[in-house]
């Protein structure tokens, strides 16, 4: 990497780290990420359970028992964690749960790509979203993982239930 490229990357990183400290950025990202997960969860709940199972079976890398469990519980976990993040309730656990899901989805898409499984649509948003290939899902999920950082950093100060219930700052200097 040339020195110009290196300084450009460092500049971008510094800019991103600065953004991570801004409360409005954390709020915006919380709403966006929480909203995405609520939407994903509801889009699966709108589908018959067997359809969700079929979407997961097409990945071909998960064992049958795991497909069944995931198809049953994942939509609820998405709705619950997304809602919690959206309203800033138990923000850190919700963000960590969402981060765990994103890591899991990324790993799954990585396995699908490595195995060369042809997949026209991941089924991530049921029948409500645009069809996404495994590569598109992988990139999207990794990007969302990065966007979680400001939320984890600023969760106490960003507008939400957690912030409202925190001790007032006037008591301490």
């Amino acid at each position: 990497m040339s020195s110009v490229q290196a300084s450009s990357v460092c500049g971008s990183l510094r800019w991103w780290l600065h953004l991570c400290t801004l409360p409005w950025v954390a709020v915006l990202l919380r709403v966006v990420l929480g909203g995405v997960f609520v939407f994903a969860g509801f889009s699966k709940l709108l589908l018959p359970h067997a359809e969700v199972v079929a979407h997961m079976q097409q990945y071909q890398v998960l064992p049958g028992w795991l497909v069944s469990i995931t198809a049953t519980f994942l939509p609820w976990i998405e709705v619950g964690s997304g809602t919690a993040l959206l309203v800033g309730f138990c923000t850190t656990p919700a963000a960590l749960l969402i981060g765990g899901q994103l890591l899991g989805f990324s790993a799954l898409m990585g396995m699908v790509l490595a195995a060369g499984i042809p997949l026209a649509d991941c089924g991530c948003f049921g029948n409500l979203g645009l069809p996404e290939t495994p590569l598109q899902v992988l990139i999207r999920d990794l990007l969302m993982l990065v966007l979680l950082l400001p939320i984890l950093y600023r969760q106490r100060d960003a507008l939400g239930l957690d912030a409202w219930s925190s001790a007032p700052a006037s008591y301490e200097a």
């Binding site: 018959p48 359809e51 199972v53 079976q57």
Partner: protein, 142 residues
């Protein structure tokens, strides 16, 4: 079906879920209905699956299907004019609408009574599910 003589009925709804993306499926389904008018629905149905690789990638598979129909002693000319007239489109649209009511969004989708199964299943798994449902409905006292 042979496992469960007298206990099970299969009702078939040939669908073309996404004709814009896959026009061959709509032609094939119409041709099957048209073959049924000549009393050869099931023969034509099985043939479509057996020779799937020979016609399903064609944009206009009707000629190929008409040729196959001759092997089944189906009047190919009548079959072709039946498909080209489009008079069975309404029936296909009705089936598609029914499928949408039941939230069928991928094929194959099967309902064993109320129990939905999506995707291809092994014969063993199907037999198990049918047996499970038979046991449930035939439980003494029900």
């Amino acid at each position: 079906m042979q496992h469960f003589e007298g206990q099970v009925q299969l009702v078939l709804y040939p669908l073309a879920l996404n004709p814009a993306a896959n026009p061959a499926s709509e032609v094939a389904a119409q041709a099957a209905w048209c073959a049924g008018e000549q009393g050869k629905f099931w023969d034509f149905h099985h043939m479509l699956y057996r020779r799937q690789e020979l016609w399903n990638r064609l944009a206009t598979p009707l000629e190929r299907l008409s040729d196959f129909a001759k092997d089944l002693n189906i009047d190919a000319t009548a079959l072709k004019s039946c498909v080209e007239s489009g008079r069975l489109q309404e029936r296909m649209q009705a089936d598609k609408a029914y499928g949408q009511q039941l939230q069928v969004s991928s094929t194959p989708t099967m309902f064993i009574n109320d129990y939905r199964i999506v995707g291809t299943q092994s014969e063993g798994e199907l037999v198990r599910l049918i047996r499970q449902e038979l046991d449930r409905v035939q439980r003494p006292g029900q």
